[in-house]
Symmetry: C2
Subunit: 457 residues, 2 copies
C-alpha cells in the first residue's frame, strides 16, 4: 500500500486529476489482454517526461513498484501490476512531435497509438511497418517495450528494426537519449536495442524516433491450401530460397480453418491440413511478377491457389485470417494464446508435436501464426473454472516449450516473457545467460522498482 | 608488466606455442590500420572458447588488461593495447562451423575472415552482406565488435542486422549464448545487439550465428557526376523517396575525383563537384528497371550518367571508388580518415563545412563515403612529423564533429569510438547517457580488464 504522504507527493508531481485511486480505476488497470493479476495502489497519468522522472525519483526513494502501461493489450502479463504499486499510464503523452518526409522518420511520444501514426502517414505516401494484431489500440511505447511483431514482420522486420532512438527515464529518475537520427551510428553501446523488448524493466520510454518507409504501390494477395503441413512448409522454404520475400506468409491449421468456416462461411477448404495467406508488395509490376512465381511454387507442391483480383476479394481472404482468434475463442470460455517460434523449416515437427500433445491431454487446440518467421500461435481452448483441465493445459504448454527449444526455437517470438514465461527463461538462456541480464537489471535499477517480477524468474 | 607466474599460467592455458612475447611479436600487435599506440606485454592465441574463458579468469583475478584482436584493421584504435597487458588474438579460431542453406544462416568462429565466409557462400548462391572496405582481411569477430558497415549498408544494413546470436565469454570468464536461431525472439534482453559494436569492452565474442541472403541475380552499375553537391544530395533523396533502395550510393568530392584521376587515368570528370557511384540489384528485370529510373532522376537534376554495360566496365567504375583512399594517401605521409555521419539531406551542409574548415586551417582534405547513409569519410592529408600542422588538423577534426552533431549527426557511422573518439562521446550522448553505459560496463566488467580506456572518456 502507498502511504498518504507518497500519494500527496504523486499528486503534486502530476496534478490531482492525473492520480487515480478509486476502486473502479484500480480494477480497470490490473489486467492485460490475457491475464488478470492483482491490483495497483494508484494509477498515475503523467503528461511530460519531467513528470515521469519525478514519479520515478519518488518511487525509487520509497521503493514503490512502478509498472508502465500503454493500452494494456499485451499477452504475457508484462503490464500487469503483479506486486501492486503504481501503474504509470502513458496514454496522455500522445503527440506525434515530428514527421520528416525527406529523412523518413517520425518522432512520437510513447502514448501514440500505432494506427494513429499510420493514419497520419497515409496522405504522405509513407508507413510505419510493425503491425501487431493490436495495432488499432496498442501504443507505440508498448510496441517498443515488447518489440512487437506482426504479420508483415517477414519482409519488414520487427519493431526493433524501426527504432532509431529513444528518450528514456531511468529507474533512478534520470533522463537520457539513445540512438541517432542517422541510419548508421556506433557512438557507444546500442542502448536503443537493449531497451526495445526489455518489457519496461530497464527504463520508461517516453519518446521514440521511428524509421518510416515509402508505402508500396501495390499488393497482391492469395491463399494456398495444402493437404499436408509438410508441403506447406516446403513451399515457405522454396519461396524464400528463390530470393522472393513475400510481405506476409500467414498459416492456419485444419482446426482453425474449420472453426473460421463455421463462423464466417467464407468457402475455406475444410479438408486442407494447412492454409497459407501470402502477399507480395512493391511496384505493381514487381508485386505481380513475384505473386505469379509464388503461386507457381505452391501449385508445384500440390496446393490449390486462390488469388484476389479486387480489393473486396483481398479483404475477404484477410477476413478468414483475422477471424482465427475470435473464431477459436467462441468455442470455450478461456483462450490460452501461445507464441512458440522455431526455425521455419521445423514448422511441421512443431505443429505435429502441438497436435499430438493436445490430443494426449484431451485439449482442443487451433494453430495459426506467421509461417515465414516460424512464429506459431497455438491457441488452447479451455475453461479456467475447470482446475483439472487447467492442469492438463499447463502440462501441455510446458511440453510444447521443451519441444520448441529442442528444435532450436525460442519461448516467445513476439509476445515477450513478461510474467507468465519468466520461470521458463532459464531453459532457453541458461544460468550464465540469465546472470548477465540480471547484472544489467541491477546496474540500472538497483532498488528493483521497475516492473518487478517480470522477465526474470 | 606481466609477472612470470602469470606468463606461466597463460602458457599452461593455451600452450607455450600460443603465447608470444618476443619484441618483434609485441611490436606487430601494437597498431591498427591508423594508430600506433603502446605495446602489449604478451600475445595470447587461444584455440577454443574454454581457453578464452581460462585467460579471462586469470586476467580478471590478476587485473591484467585484455585487448581482443582480429586482423587489426580497425580505424579508431579499438584493438590497440593502450595500457599494455594481453592482446587476445582470435585468428586461430577460424572455422566455419555450419552453413544452413534452408534456414539461411551460418555459424562461424570469431577469427573467420569476412571474405573467406563469402567465398564459401558463392557456390551455394548465398551471401553475407556486410562488406567493410577491409573485407578481404578483417575477421567477422572484429566486424561484429565494431558493428562494421560498408558500401552496401544502404540496402542491406550493418553487421548488427545480420547477427542472430553469439557465444560470448564474459570479463569474469563465464561462457554464455545470446540470441536465437529464429528470425524473431523476445526471450529476455537483446544481449546480442548490446555486444555488437561494444568494441570488445563487454565480452569476448567467440562464435556467431549470422543471417545469410540469397545472392541477387543481377547488378546494374552507373556513375552520375554533378556540377554541384546540392544536386547530388537532391538526387539521393529523390531516389529513396521514389521507393527504390539502390544497393549502393557512393560519393566522391572534387578533390578525390582529381587525385583518383591523376593516379588511375579512368576518364573521371575533373570539373564535377560530386560523383555518385550507384548500383541496383535483384532479379535482372527489376535491377534494370530500377537502374533506368535512377538514371532518369539523376539526369533530371543535370547529372552526366555513365552506365556499365559489361563486367569489365563495372570493374572500371568501381576501380575509381576503391582507389579513393590509396590515391589520397599518395599525396602526403599521413592520412587521417574520419567517419562523421549526418542525416542524408544534410550532406551538402556537412561537406561544405568540411571544405571550409580545411581551407581555413590550410589542410588538404578529400571526401568520399556512403551518400545513401549520410556517412562521410573526410580524409585529411598531413605529415605527422609536423607538430604545428597536426595541431591544425586536430582543431579541424574537432570543429567538424561539432558541425556534424549540430546537424543531427553522429561521431561515427561505422569506425567506432575506440580510443580516439572517447573524449568526444559526451558531446553526443550527454552525461546521463554516458553514466548509463558506464553502469553496464561496471556491471559486466567490475575490474575493468576488458579493453580499458576504450569507448569511455
Amino acid at each position: 500500500m502507498l502511504r498518504d504522504k507518497s500519494l500527496e507527493e504523486l499528486a503534486s508531481i502530476v496534478g490531482r486529476e492525473n492520480l487515480l485511486t478509486s476502486g473502479e480505476e484500480l480494477l480497470c488497470h490490473g489486467y492485460d489482454a490475457q491475464h488478470i493479476e492483482g491490483l495497483p495502489d494508484a494509477i498515475v497519468v503523467p503528461r511530460s517526461t519531467e513528470e515521469v522522472a519525478g514519479v520515478l525519483r519518488l518511487a525509487n526513494r520509497e521503493r514503490i513498484p512502478v509498472v508502465p502501461r500503454g493500452a494494456g493489450t499485451g499477452l504475457s502479463g508484462g503490464s500487469v501490476p503483479a506486486r501492486g504499486g503504481i501503474v504509470l499510464l502513458l496514454r496522455k503523452m500522445d503527440r506525434v512531435l515530428k514527421i520528416d518526409k525527406g529523412e523518413l522518420y517520425a518522432v512520437v511520444q510513447a502514448g501514440v497509438v500505432n494506427k494513429e501514426l499510420n493514419d497520419m502517414l497515409v496522405p504522405l505516401g509513407l508507413f510505419y511497418p510493425p503491425d501487431p494484431a493490436s495495432y488499432r489500440t496498442s501504443t507505440l511505447g508498448g510496441n517498443i517495450a515488447t518489440n512487437a511483431g506482426g504479420p508483415h514482420t517477414l519482409k519488414y522486420g520487427v519493431t526493433r528494426d524501426y527504432v532509431m532512438g529513444l528518450e528514456v527515464v531511468s529507474p533512478t529518475g534520470d533522463i537520457y537519449r539513445t540512438g541517432a537520427l542517422t541510419v548508421k551510428s556506433v557512438s557507444g553501446y546500442d542502448m536503443t536495442s537493449l531497451l526495445v523488448g526489455s518489457g519496461g524493466t530497464l527504463g520508461i520510454i517516453t519518446e521514440a524516433t521511428l524509421r518510416l518507409l515509402p508505402r508500396p504501390e501495390h499488393t497482391e494477395t492469395m491463399t494456398a491450401s495444402f493437404s499436408a503441413i509438410r508441403k506447406a512448409a516446403e513451399a515457405v522454404t522454396a519461396i524464400l530460397a528463390s530470393g522472393i520475400t513475400p510481405s506476409t506468409m500467414e498459416l492456419m491449421d485444419r482446426t482453425t480453418i474449420n472453426v473460421v468456416e463455421d463462423f464466417k462461411h467464407l468457402g475455406l477448404p475444410r479438408e486442407a491440413e494447412a492454409l497459407l495467406l501470402i502477399e507480395t508488395d512493391g511496384p505493381r509490376g514487381r508485386a505481380e511478377e513475384e505473386a505469379a512465381a509464388v503461386a507457381a511454387i505452391c501449385r508445384g507442391l500440390g496446393a490449390d491457389v486462390k488469388s484476389a483480383t479486387s480489393t473486396e476479394e483481398r479483404e475477404r481472404l484477410w477476413e478468414g485470417r483475422r477471424a482465427a482468434l475470435p473464431a477459436l475463442a467462441r468455442l470455450k470460455p478461456t483462450t490460452i494464446l501461445e507464441d512458440v517460434t522455431v526455425p521455419r523449416t521445423r514448422i511441421p515437427e512443431m505443429l505435429e508435436a502441438v497436435w499430438r500433445i493436445a490430443r494426449r491431454e484431451g485439449i482442443e487446440v487451433g494453430v495459426f501464426g506467421h509461417a515465414g518467421d516460424g512464429n506459431l500461435h497455438p491457441t488452447f481452448l479451455v475453461d479456467e473454472r475447470d482446475g483439472e483441465e487447467m492442469g492438463r493445459v499447463e502440462r501441455a504448454v510446458e511440453e510444447m516449450f521443451m519441444v520448441a527449444l529442442g528444435l532450436g526455437g525460442t519461448l516467445s517470438g513476439e509476445h515477450g516473457i513478461g510474467l507468465t514465461k519468466a520461470r521458463f527463461l532459464e531453459l532457453e538462456r541458461g544460468k550464465a545467460g540469465i546472470e548477465i541480464m540480471r547484472r544489467i537489471k541491477r546496474a540500472l535499477d538497483p532498488n528493483d522498482i521497475l516492473n518487478p517480477g517480470k522477465v526474470f524468474p
